[in-house]
């Protein structure tokens, strides 16, 4: 048998490579295994189970004294949920919330970022930290602080303004918007500021030598150049708004402007815990998850196209 030195040398090498590949496979499993085990357990399984539950409903049998039985209703729960005015009203609330909140948030954050970037601001770092600080405060605590700032008798603001009613029917939306604004203004400002800082200095210089003033440069040069960051934050804000839950839930106890099904998430919570309607709670959660996922997907696609 004639074996060339080449093949002789390869044989043990191949064995070692195979061994190594196997060892690598073990390492890969160790690195990605825990994440995917948890991923299945806390994202995939609950959603799948909610889909399953949403296909059934409790129907009381006979005269209603014989206890309830669970029957398959197909998409019935989805139709019931979509037909339920309490659920659809929640989306109207979100719509009103977005109409009020987004211009204030984006306009405010953009204005602040441009002021910081104008080169005229002193103590820029201090202002950045001060404006960002509310974002560190957990949503529940922010809600509680503002609840007291809305509460007649305790609030210095109500004292100052006479009989302002922040928690009544019409004031509630503004009250929730204000809390969100307080929490997120500094956050979005930092994002815009970072984007503004990335604009090449020559571009701004060129505009300046062309005789453009600070305001003109901000409007015609800087804002168009960070349009991507602005659109992204708007879309993320809409996705966040869709999930609104914490702040209105904190105000709920003290405000007659906020009902227990005020937002879609509050509706899902109320179906599960207030009405004990598991099928409907599942359906509402799935509708919401789908909507948020589709919106987020649109954002990602848009981001990649850019």
């Amino acid at each position: 048998m004639t074996t060339s030195p080449m093949t002789q040398a390869r044989a043990p090498g191949a064995a070692r490579e195979g061994d190594e590949a196997w060892r690598r496979r073990g390492a890969i499993l160790l690195f990605v295994g825990p994440f995917f085990a948890l991923f299945l357990a806390v994202i995939v399984a609950p959603l799948a189970y909610a889909v399953y539950l949403s296909l059934f409903a409790e129907k009381s049998s006979g005269l209603g004294f014989g206890g309830a039985e669970t029957v398959f209703v197909g998409l019935g729960n989805y139709l019931d949920t979509l037909k339920d005015e309490a659920f659809t009203d929640g989306f109207l609330v979100i719509l009103g919330y977005c109409v009020l909140y987004i211009p204030l948030m984006i306009g405010g954050a953009l204005a602040l970022a441009l002021l910081l970037d104008s080169g005229l601001a002193r103590f820029g770092k201090v202002f950045q930290a001060a404006l960002f600080m509310p974002h560190i405060v957990p949503g529940v605590i922010a809600g509680l602080i503002w609840l007291y700032l809305y509460l007649p008798g305790i609030s210095p603001i109500v004292d100052l303004l006479g009989d302002a009613d922040f928690l009544g029917g019409r004031g509630a939306l503004g009250a929730v918007v204000n809390i969100a604004l307080w929490e997120w203004l500094g956050y979005n400002m930092i994002i815009y500021f970072a984007a503004l800082q990335a604009i090449p200095a020559e571009v701004v210089e060129a505009a300046r030598t062309d005789g453009a003033g600070g305001a003109r440069i901000a409007w015609s040069v800087k804002i168009p150049m960070i349009r991507g960051a602005v659109v992204t934050t708007v879309l993320f804000t809409i996705i966040g708004s869709l999930q609104l839950f914490t702040e209105p839930t904190v105000l709920d106890n003290s405000s007659d402007g906020i009902v227990s099904t005020w937002t879609p998430n509050m509706y899902a919570y109320n179906e599960a815990f207030g009405n004990n309607d598991i099928g409907q709670a599942g359906a509402a959660s799935i509708i919401l998850a789908l909507l948020a996922a589709v919106l987020s997907y649109a954002v990602t696609r848009w981001g990649n196209r850019r």
Binding site: A27, L30, F35, V42, A129, A130, L131, M133
Partner: protein
């Protein structure tokens, strides 16, 4: 002209800073007051100095349950974020540095996970947890927060930037195994990524309200936010709970602000990595 616009810019910034800081300042004033001073004195003025009595009342209420909540929050957020960030960084690192069949498909699943908001899974998680009988346990709140799909995405990107392949090859040719290479060569380089993801997760878990609200009945398992929320509900019948909520809120916010000021650098890195390309 330039002097005027400089004044205008700084004045506008100062007014905005008042908007963000005054509510926190009010909290500071309010927590030094007795319940009657809370109603009787102006919001931004001191009454009788009652801070220590208030802190004592917070500490005494419900047999010291407030500190229990504090400890719970630290466990949920601190241990949760530490474990979750390790799982996340290891996973992102593997996605970046190894090849295997169906890798990009699997990564697609991770990205799908990013799309599903955590609030939309809270009620489904509760339904599943009650089916298998684990509601109202520590684990029912702790385990779901360990998954952080966006962190995996971020870790993959950061691993590509921070860990050069040549260094890993060098470690391997020195005879180090894959796990050893990750732990002692890659991980130190990924430390900034780990800290960034840790901060992300820590704030997300610390802020989490929906999940503990649906999962927990037992006061002893509450995190701070849920505990303070429960106290506030009592305030309608028993006004002295207003004082407890105000002082409790202050005690829960101060450490966060201190940590934030110390770790600002990482915070910003994570935010801008996620939002600005």
């Amino acid at each position: 002209m330039r002097w005027m616009s400089r004044t205008a810019v700084n004045a506008l910034l100062a007014v905005s800073a008042l908007y963000t800081l005054l509510p926190l300042t009010w909290l500071l004033f309010a927590s030094t007051k007795s319940l009657s001073d809370l109603y009787a004195t102006p919001g931004f003025a001191f009454g009788e100095f009652n801070l220590f009595a208030n802190v004592e009342a917070v500490a005494r209420e419900g047999g010291g349950v407030f500190f229990r909540w504090y400890l719970n929050s630290l466990l949920y957020a601190g241990v949760g974020a530490a474990v979750s960030s390790l799982i996340t960084v290891a996973c992102g690192y593997a996605f970046d540095k190894y090849q295997w069949l169906g890798k990009e498909k699997l990564f697609g699943a991770v990205l799908l996970g990013v799309l599903v908001p955590t609030t939309a899974t809270a009620v489904p998680l509760y339904l599943l947890a009650s089916k298998i009988g684990v509601v109202n346990t520590f684990w029912s709140v702790f385990v779901p927060t360990l998954v952080h799909p966006f962190g995996v995405y971020l870790a993959r990107v950061l691993s590509a930037g921070y860990v050069p392949r040549e260094v890993l090859e060098a470690a391997r040719s020195d005879g180090a195994g894959e796990i050893r290479t990750f732990a002692s060569v890659a991980m130190p380089m990924l430390l900034p990524a780990y800290v960034t993801i840790f901060l992300f997760q820590f704030t997300a878990i610390w802020n989490n309200f929906f999940l503990p609200l649906v999962m927990l009945n037992d006061q002893n398992l509450y995190p701070l936010s849920l505990g303070l929320f429960a106290w506030e509900k009592q305030g309608h019948a028993f006004p002295e709970f207003h004082s407890l909520v105000i002082t409790g809120s202050l005690l829960s916010v101060v450490p966060l602000l201190v940590v934030f000021l110390l770790l600002q650098r990482f915070w910003k890195a994570g935010m801008t990595a996620g939002s600005v390309k």
